[in-house]
Symmetry: C2
Subunit: 265 residues, 2 copies
């Protein structure tokens, strides 16, 4: 298995420690070259539903790790604590966003049997884009990536259904093919785009008004490129209304110790 | 999604129909260019165990499809019937091979709630090897691929544990790198080899005596190359002793209608 450098590990550990201590900011660009992950934790009774939903929808929901019921330390980051090491969480009740918190300990006390799923994040291939000389606009201008609900239904599984959520990056027309090829080498973190251009084809009425994250900045000669997004499980929560779920807040990810290259084909 | 050609579909349908009618032979080389799959079916109570074991061991257990409890028609082959469309099955009781059958209908009557998992098979990338001019010996000499239990433990999951099973193909030393690269483009069907040369390093005492399939023929200048194998769930059954399981017999796979290219990165 590929190993992270000492400097990368120090950055990742420092970031998790800062979030644990209360710092709150989007994680795009943090610990460059290390994998970041989406989180969804559900009571054990719902674990099979989530795992099956992920298996049937691997592009939006590529599972990197499933923790045992009640476990809070990820193998992707020894010493981590999923209750406190993410900058911002969302608590869901009956499919409604009940609150956002920066410490999920209380949710864990309420549901000590939570099963946590870490799901690949497009921030991973963003490092690959940057390394290939393809600018990542939202990072360059200090914004969160724009994310959109779409009209594309995921494959239902057991009690879960919902639509695919996508993230969007504006890419210069002459670099779109490169962006497809670079991201396509990372199938475990969403892989190649699901849609290039034509937002209306995904049911996106206003590209400037994303449902999650910040508004984009699209320049002349750029094409909106859409990737399946790890926020998709949150759309499934909204549509399917499990009694309880805990997730990260979009753009506020779990920073791991694992190099992106570990997931490159 | 990539589409199979009419000729390929006819071959796949004819093969499944023949197996359904009672024909029994290994499926290597059948319907060239279409995906074949390993089968493991377990009572619904064990489905999460199998799915989690697969998630934690993606190289030997890449899941292509999980059917709903009691379902027998695969989406990968419309009109198929998993009870009868595989040439040979194994029935497992308490971790012991109870019998081999060519029709699994009786097992399904006994356990109508079976959840079936179709798992990627190395026969998929064999087509890629052949297309790259790399001979696949066992197919060329009309034998089943040799498969070995190893000393490499899989990651345990819930009630399942066991060692990795590998398949072996002897490859000319000057084509080993090509074989790695070609198979590496198919991560959903075991991907790149897990081990090249040195059978003892996997705990294989006698390369000529595989636990499953037929003995190999290794020629001068060839290196034994080992890939993670979809028979690994059967090793987990032996080690973990679930009360009941139904699988394909090694080498006798489920032939789908899906082109290999659909799983190429």
């Amino acid at each position: 298995m590929m190993q992270a450098s000492e400097q990368q590990l120090n950055e990742a550990r420092a970031a998790r420690a800062a979030y644990r201590a209360g710092e709150v900011r989007p994680t795009s660009g943090v610990a460059h070259g290390l994998v970041q992950a989406n989180l969804i934790s559900v009571p054990a009774d719902w674990a099979y539903d989530v795992l099956l939903y992920s298996q049937r929808n691997p592009k939006p929901c590529p599972v990197l790790e499933v923790l045992d019921a009640g476990a809070t330390e990820s193998k992707l980051a020894p010493g981590s604590d999923l209750r406190v090491d993410i900058p911002r969480y969302r608590v869901w009740r009956d499919g409604e966003l009940a609150e956002e918190v920066t410490d999920a300990s209380e949710a864990w006390r309420e549901h000590p049997d939570l099963v946590s799923f870490l799901i690949g994040c497009s921030f991973t291939f963003e490092a690959g884009l940057v390394d290939a000389g393809i600018p990542v606009r939202h990072a360059d201008i200090g914004r969160n990536v724009p994310m959109y609900r779409t009209n594309r239904a995921c494959n239902p599984a057991s009690r879960l259904h919902g639509e695919m959520v996508v993230s969007m990056r504006p890419i210069a027309a002459d670099r779109v093919a490169d962006a497809v090829q670079v991201s396509g080498r990372y199938p475990a973190v969403h892989g190649a785009p699901v849609h290039v251009g034509d937002p209306a084809g995904l049911g996106i009425a206003d590209i400037m008004a994303p449902e999650f994250g910040d508004a984009p900045e699209i320049r002349d000669g750029e094409v909106p490129v859409f990737w399946a997004c790890g926020v998709t499980p949150q759309a499934a929560i909204m549509a399917s209304k499990p009694p309880f779920a805990l997730t990260h807040a979009p753009g506020y990810m779990f920073v791991t110790d694992v190099p992106d290259l570990a997931y490159m084909v």
